[in-house]
Subunit: 592 residues, 2 copies
């Protein structure tokens, strides 16, 4: 089983996303193509040697809880020890924190190898880094010394403990309580659910980032504070955090999903992060990056399925060419059948498009932090903020679609647990749900990022797209023209929705936001396919053999996307512009 074709990563980093441009910045001055290549080599090998081999075993032998201890197959800890020993946990962090100041773009490319090989095992460092980022940004020096340092060393792992049984998408209803203690700490009581990596024996300690309400805080989201609640206190005693049970999931089974009870013995000791009542803002500050990470996981799970299906299609013999009436002819590899090519090309366009989208997102994270001027950093942040719901959602939808096609390419075999494609599908089904569901992302995009912003960030994105259109060679004029038309369609649609919102019809404008998110996703990915095709055109003249075929594949996937996928936005735009309320007006009783 293959994971990631290194050529795709190199093509995106160097030919599409201009990684060289980052090396010129002071923060990344010690890096160059050679050092990045070495890092990717290590990731590729480590993922193949330590993550991939136990992926199926971990799925079939999910973590269990005997009332005392969570049992996880030993390969997980061995893999994570090797991961931490190679320095990957801290690679993106500052030198001062023991990191390597690796660009986020490269960090995300590194993650691609691990997540494609074994998303469940890769889940532990993913969550740890996300939690570490919050502490690095908003924690006190003492908190950094006590928690961040060991996290970046890989000795402590982290969690994000937001969700409660009655508060998933609706964080305003969080009930976990925090009561100030005399020593400046807080006593935390409450129940959390779906906390990934909430209990395990993989690290010396577990650092929970817990959202809770300080007694007397305002109702709603403006009364939520953020706390560090470690599993073990500084003196080594157990904190008052108890595992109430493990949740058994469809997939992603190797990352424990937990129900945690805080304060059953009177109160878990928590340390306030930043100021009181501002917890949700701190979490959201890091959310763009976390959501890019979720998108990447979805993209590479789809990608892994595509590669497995491609290998299968090249070796599985079945049927004959359409015109071959002689049954004495030998059967052909199924990759030669038009409908199999359709499924594979669709998958390729989805997963490589999704990968490009996520790496673009991480490039925007880098730019928002390290671009030369405040204006450039601000522009990058606005683009990132606008695109985050798309980067989280489109790969979650279309990476999954690729996993579905990978099963279909395999026929009956794909439905069995003897082949990896059904597992990859089950793993990926989580991604449209966690870190903000598809519906929540769509409201974020249309309501907050576009209508709430008067379309300013959207105008910046259109500028970027027009720059690509202008850079397209004549051989890509069909695609360039179609992208221009798509931008116009988005503008018209946003104008109609904006007028409705301004005319006291905001609910109606937002009612079909999910359709808008799908539409935007396709336009953004079409843009990225055009960028990839331009890069391929630029390189193909000097290429031969496999390298030429590789670049030709990019051009063809671009063509597929523009001919087969982008036209789907027209009925979507028409529906949105009609402000159709068929769904929104459905009375409960009429559902049956």
């Amino acid at each position: 089983m293959t994971t990631i074709d290194r050529r795709d990563i190199d093509f995106l980093l160097h030919e599409v996303l201009d990684l060289d441009g980052l090396f010129a910045r002071p923060r990344f001055a010690d890096h160059d193509r050679g050092s990045v290549a070495a890092m990717l080599d290590t990731a590729e090998k480590l993922a193949a040697d330590h993550f991939l081999p136990h992926a199926a075993k971990l799925d079939a032998n999910e973590p269990s809880f005997d009332g005392e201890t969570v049992h996880i197959i030993p390969e997980v800890k061995q893999a994570l020890d090797a991961y931490c020993a190679a320095g990957f946990m801290a690679a993106h962090a500052d030198y001062a924190l023991g990191g390597m100041q690796l660009p986020h773009t490269v960090s995300l490319a590194v993650s691609a190898f691990f997540s494609a090989a074994n998303i469940s095992t890769a889940g532990y460092p993913f969550l740890t880094r996300a939690a570490a980022n919050v502490i690095a940004k908003f924690g006190t020096e003492g908190q950094k010394a006590a928690f961040l340092g060991p996290m970046l060393e890989g000795r402590y792992f982290g969690t994000m403990a937001l969700t409660e049984p009655g508060a998933g998408s609706g964080l305003a209803d969080l009930k976990t309580a925090a009561v100030p203690a005399a020593d400046g700490t807080y006593l935390i009581t409450g129940n959390k659910i779906f906390i990934s990596a909430g209990e395990h024996g993989l690290s010396e300690n577990i650092v929970h980032l817990v959202l809770a309400r300080i007694k007397g805080a305002p109702a709603g989201v403006k009364g939520i504070s953020l706390f560090i609640v470690p599993k073990l206190l500084g003196d080594g005693r157990r904190n008052d955090v108890r595992l109430a049970g493990l949740i058994h999931k469809m997939g992603y089974r190797g990352t424990t999903s937990t129900m945690l009870n805080f304060g059953e013995g009177g109160g878990a000791t928590g340390y306030l992060v930043g100021e009181a009542h501002r917890g949700l803002g701190y979490m959201f500050h890091m959310m763009n990056e976390a959501r890019v990470g979720v998108g990447l996981g979805a993209a590479v799970l789809g990608y892994a399925g595509y590669r497995v299906a491609l290998d299968y299609a090249r070796t599985r013999l079945q049927g004959r060419p359409p015109r071959a009436k002689d049954p004495g002819l030998p059967p052909v590899p199924i990759v030669e059948h038009a409908d199999v090519k359709r499924m594979l090309l669709a998958s390729k366009a989805y997963v490589e498009g999704a990968l490009a989208l996520c790496l673009l997102g991480s490039r925007l994270v880098d730019d928002s932090e390290t671009a030369a001027t405040p204006a450039a950093r601000d522009r990058a942040f606005q683009l990132l903020d606008l695109l985050t719901p798309v980067i989280k959602s489109w790969p979650s939808q279309y990476g999954l679609a690729a996993n579905d096609l990978a099963i279909q390419v395999h026929g009956g075999y794909g439905y069995t647990r003897e082949y990896p494609v059904e597992r990859l599908y089950r793993d990926n089904r989580l991604n449209p749900i966690h870190e903000g569901t598809f519906g929540i992302q769509s409201l974020d995009l249309l309501g907050r990022k576009i209508l709430g912003d008067q379309g300013k960030a959207l105008a910046l994105l259109a500028e970027e797209m027009f720059a690509t259109i202008n850079a397209a060679p004549p051989s890509l004029s069909e695609e360039a023209g179609a992208l221009g038309g798509a931008i116009a369609l988005v503008s018209e649609t946003v104008a109609v929705l904006g007028r409705a919102a301004a005319g006291n019809r905001l609910d109606e404008a937002l009612a079909n936001s999910a359709v808008f998110l799908e539409l935007m996703g396709h336009v953004v990915v079409a843009w990225l396919w055009l960028r990839m095709a331009i890069a391929a055109e630029a390189g193909i003249g000097a290429a031969a053999g496999d390298a030429a075929a590789f670049l030709d594949g990019k051009r063809r996937a671009c063509r597929y996307f523009f001919r087969w996928e982008l036209p789907k936005i027209r009925p979507q735009a028409a529906l949105l512009q009609s402000l159709d309320q068929t769904c929104a007006e459905m009375p409960d009783a009429a559902f049956g």
Copy 2:
């Protein structure tokens, strides 16, 4: 957990499909609305009492093989014994065979309750009836006495043993061999795979219908014969059929999927069905009905997911209406959120549309057998034959889409194995694969049923659709007009593809057949939604309360389908008419 809302079945049988018209025919003279209602009552209760309760347990405790015996939780046999005792196995069969001569339309409605409750347990009688139908049609009197009788009594179960490790979609490559013995029987040797219900202890005997090649037969599909190969011979000895192993599937886990070795000890005794070399034709003769059954399974799995999601959405409290800024207000049931309504209304339109499609299919089976005149029977058969790939595929795609939405409505809970929606999803993922994959169905539809038929059956279907358009009241003129436009679009598209085929470009015309199948499915289901809406309009004036809300729901789902779904066919038609070869021309090396 609900399974099927009886009102949907009654509405379809009586208001849409004119079941009364069947009672006038001699074969069904003993039936009336009252007897059918009693039968449905029994099915509903039996499914709820004996099939539903062990569905989750069976999934979590799939059948196992210890090298000697297949172990299945005892609830399965208890349920099937109750099913057979109630006479359901033979309900559709002739009186002479101990049956009740129930219309296929009613039989399928009965199946809906069992399959929605527990598709795995319902799989055993489904396969038995399919095998029994072949023997009833093509077997000798001796074969009927030896096998068909006990099958209809529920003492013997059946299988369809077609697929081999190297021959799935490509049946031409079947290798299983049959050698004539002196006594008129045959010795069968070969390996079969994915044989559902191929081994178990649920019945006294298992009757395998095996496709094999008689020594010296022509190559390809014209040299395949059909054999009855029982697990136990007449004298009670084991036949030479050995279970090589169970296959572990993503879902549908309770129906054993087996690898069977025939003739390891020298040869399994087989009895030729009908004439030599005509086996595939016999199998295909029964395929329409079997494929309608697959479609029904897919429809009701989606339906069951929808009902669970609807119940959940009505009780789960989360969030507030869009304009409610006061966090002190209590949270609302999520069914009140526009995006949840969207998911539920889409699901409703998919699963109720799919159910209507399948019941229409079974009504056509009835008409093809019992309509008053040969011309009417022939017309019904042509329509059935044309629609079969749609009836098999559209529910497999959109029932599954409803299962996906049911997970999404549940949020994180939907991804856990504590709720049934993830199981229903996993179960349903089989349906686009078995009994002819989506790709195979699309070639059957476009290549054989339309282009190969010069569009004659399609013209009959258009006639039926125009009759519906003409019957639409003014309140449904938007939908009636849109259906007319869709028919025109199909005609244009078929004309373009037909010209290409006639112009020696058949491969190009067929290259995108999967898109054509999707397009046709949406047009056919739009037609059925218009029929349902017309029936709802006719009844709503006299209805009140829940009954009025029920009929109103049909009108609204129809509106949803025409506004949200049908417009998707325009880009599909454009793509097809362009004869785009982007996929078909993709070189293997360019995939990467």
